[in-house]
Symmetry: C2
Subunit: 341 residues, 2 copies
């Protein structure tokens, strides 16, 4: 029997040859049932798209890139990453697009990673951990890469942006704590160069009207512990602390306990990101669930659409949910009245 | 000024042109300081290796592949994945090799993923979730891909294999429980088609001498819950249950509690894999830490060496550590003497 051709596959599947080609290129305009029909036909005939023909026909790498400019350990220690990566894969799997994941230890390694992606290894990239004025935006535009930015980027950019408004939950938390009788509410932030840390800190300052109890942390447990210690040492100490992530909040909880502060009676604590662990602590930690899985899925979908020629735009997603738990309650009477332990 | 050439870079860095080329190809035979010198020289001169020249010179994708044939959600819900991926990245980052991660929803999607990796998208692949007789071994060999198998594969294979002996900790756990006075010890396994589940189950049967209290689960919480219920319904119920992962053990703990069994007095429980959460439960869960980060790092190093022409072999790693916690203790006297609650 002669070797099967793309025409044979098209005939058996009842579609055009272009549709067969598109089904293999990850084009999203082909419906899942049609794709399935094409793949079944190809399999029954033993037809395999040749890599070069496919590459020529589509000029697609069928991969999108994610460069992480942090220590590799963060992929396991920060619960954002596994859920976000799982969400990306869930948005890419149907189109059979792979995720090219690269950890870069330096700025120059980062640039080399993006360059090699631009030179055929990826059809587009996802940019996370945005800085308020981020060199990558102009760099990627110059490379001609399609990109999607995760976060509320406020500078000009030619790229789609998937953003959510964290300020809402910061304000809700502060309103809730004030309703319980808290008057001295502190905030331990992430690095303020990051868009997400800055947005949360700005909402805090707007709501509280002062930076007196604002401390800049780095998302790590050690900074959560040390800054909590610093806040508790103040003559007029806070009765509640909001942290920009749960890791710092858990370290703060542990430090407060070790100094015999009762949580939540003497000190109310709340985190952000709702770590896997937080609902199971004693007391359970109030936090804001940010659904990184859904963020990942939507980001992948926007990127695939942009690669297919959609006009870049801003996508506002509403993924956040305040989870009130036992770590936030009314201050003990002596504390609320300004006395101390 | 004329455009800089690879010769200029070699001169400034004080190395040969071949060394410059190898530094960019991810060859591990170039030392890190030499590499750094080459990259600095290239940067100072503004020299960029052209993709095609680089590809021709080295025939490297500078990426390794990992195909996950499970639901994308598992990357977040099973703590093995983030730590293993972080470990892989830690083993790949110095060589500036990326990880091409693809979730495949079907056998044919899986085959297409490996084919496209073999056709230039990856220099080698990592194979996880090995089955006792795994179709991927012959398939990858036929594709001519370099591969490393994670797990104690017992069939013939042309690939390196990174294995650890889980049987040791199963035996230690059983010895420990017997020392505490437990005589009826059950085991809820993972799917027995998997190499890792089978090895743990075999160690259990060898040690206990019977399959009476062996139940096959699927690593999911629902199977942990249901099989625990089944075991507790037995007339001569077990006083201790060993689970093949912590997810099933946590579901079992919760089911036992809901039926008013005291843990560990009425029922001792132990997991495997030492989830992030397990040390923080009440009672804390006895488990076996398997250090997937280190597994990932070693697997990446073995794969990079094999890509560079090392002879494939078997690497035995000793990553496991039994973590005895409050969920395993002596049975309450009435239970140990054969009475029931």
């Amino acid at each position: 029997m002669a070797k099967p051709t793309i025409g044979d596959v098209a005939r058996v599947a009842g579609v055009t040859r272009a549709t067969v080609s598109h089904a293999y290129s990850g084009k999203r305009s082909i419906s899942a049932p049609t794709k399935a029909r094409v793949f079944e036909a190809a399999e029954s005939l033993g037809w395999v798209p040749s890599h070069s023909a496919r590459a020529l026909a589509t000029r697609r790498a069928n991969a999108v890139g994610l460069v992480i400019a942090r220590d590799p350990g963060v992929i396991a220690s920060d619960s954002f990453f596994p859920a976000f990566i799982a969400g990306l894969e869930s948005g890419l799997a149907d189109a059979e697009v792979a995720l090219l994941l690269q950890v870069a230890a330096s700025r120059s390694a980062e640039e080399r990673a993006y360059r090699s992606m631009a030179h055929g290894k990826a059809d587009g990239v996802i940019v996370i951990d945005l800085h308020r004025s981020d060199w990558r935006v102009a760099f990627l535009a110059e490379l001609g890469l399609t990109a999607v930015l995760l976060g509320a980027y406020e500078q000009e950019s030619p790229f789609s942006c998937v953003r959510s408004d964290d300020a809402v939950q910061m304000r809700d938390l502060i309103t809730h704590l004030r309703g319980l009788g808290h008057e001295r509410i502190a905030h331990v932030t992430g690095p303020l160069g990051y868009v997400h840390s800055h947005a949360r800190a700005r909402a805090y300052v707007e709501e509280i009207g002062s930076e007196e109890l604002l401390r800049e942390g780095d998302f790590g447990a050690a900074s959560g512990r040390d800054l909590t210690g610093e806040l508790l040492d103040l003559t007029d100490r806070p009765t509640a602390v909001l942290y920009a992530n749960d890791t710092m909040a858990i370290a703060g909880l542990s430090l407060a306990r070790s100094r015999d502060f009762r949580v939540p009676d003497d000190l109310a604590l709340a985190g952000f990101d709702d770590d896997h662990l937080s609902a199971h602590l004693s007391p359970a930690l109030t936090s804001v669930a940010t659904d990184p899985f859904r963020r990942g899925r939507i980001t992948a979908e926007v990127l695939l659409a942009d690669i297919d020629g959609a006009t870049p735009g801003s996508v506002e997603i509403d993924c956040n949910e305040l989870r009130l738990r036992a770590s936030t309650a009314a201050p003990a009477p002596s504390i609320a009245q300004g006395g101390d332990r």
